[in-house]
Symmetry: C2
Subunit: 200 residues, 2 copies
């Protein structure tokens, strides 16, 4: 079966390629390091399974998954990520992913998951599935996410207001909402919590 690997860290990507090449029934026919190169490569190399990291330059693996789903629905998608955040899992499934793995897991699970999605199964870590279900959906509105994301790197209110073309008071209001919804005590904690839950 023809496999594509998308992962931005060269060493990790090539190591995973070496690992999968040990499997007789799998062949790594393409490797990309950016999310926005996935869809084209999948089409060009007639890929049967795409293994995607989430955090990548250009485009997230989740968005790339949605692109693949639209352009070539028969290609299976496996999301393999460092962070087992419930929100990531939820969004990955909404984008049509067939499997969701965390890189903490033993390597054998990757090949195993690939074979299972090829048989038409879905593969999800049960612990994560439970967490995603108990958490409920992302409670932040679009603008609240925007403001929180802009505050994430330490910008002051005036900066955020300028960047998003808002009034400073509005920025304060959205942040206040976000802080309450995350049950945090200030913006920094709100950012941390939202990140952990995959809301950002």
């Amino acid at each position: 079966m023809r496999v594509l690997l998308a992962e931005d860290q060269g060493m990790v990507r090539e190591a995973l390629a070496a690992l999968l090449s040990l499997e007789d029934d799998l062949e790594v026919v393409a490797q990309v390091s950016r999310g926005d190169e996935v869809a084209a490569a999948v089409a060009e190399h007639q890929v049967d399974v795409a293994v995607l990291d989430i955090e990548m330059p250009g485009m997230t693996g989740i968005d790339a998954c949605a692109e693949v789903r639209r352009a070539r629905p028969r290609t299976k998608v496996v999301i393999a990520t460092t962070f087992g955040r419930p929100g990531y899992l939820r969004r990955a499934m909404e984008s049509g992913a067939d499997a969701f793995l965390v890189k903490d897991a033993p390597a054998a699970e990757l090949a195993e998951a690939i074979r299972r999605v090829l048989r038409g199964e879905k593969v999800i870590d049960p612990t994560l599935a439970a967490a995603a279900l108990t958490e409920g959906a992302n409670p932040l509105t679009g603008r609240e996410r925007d403001v929180l994301a802009a505050a994430a790197d330490g910008a002051v209110n005036a900066d955020i207001a300028a960047r998003l073309h808002l009034s400073e008071g509005t920025v304060r209001n959205y942040l206040s909402m976000a802080i309450q919804k995350t049950a945090a005590r200030n913006r920094a904690e709100a950012v941390r919590i939202a990140r952990e839950k995959g809301w950002l």
Copy 2:
């Protein structure tokens, strides 16, 4: 040559093991997922080269490197990390590392670096070396680092004071110093900048 791999993400660790096993002259004789297991494993398996990640539970790869250096000076140490922060490079070299690689690099460089350190050479990314030299040393004092680290996850002043057994005013003073030294405009930005430079 006998190689140890220390890396917390199972999938990545085993993939790197597969990669290195393709090299005729290298043999992966031990794998650990925690920093505090490195030294014992190095001694037990008579390891010639230890490949260490930095971010690991239990102990950082840099501290583990120092342990190995003390307990078994002839063992070479290769630090392989996700983040090419100048401060990491500096601290790794101070701990006696023989090579410093970023995981962005192509996989071939890993085996190459291992062979070179075995010949007694040091291997450092020249771009990073330049950055480390232009940056100068960490300007933060021990206590300033402590309070900044405690503020990193969104704790309020009272929390930090309690955690470090300080007065709240003292926390404010240290944070103010840290903010000035990082040329930041608030604690959150100071945390970000200190992280980027590897001062934390």
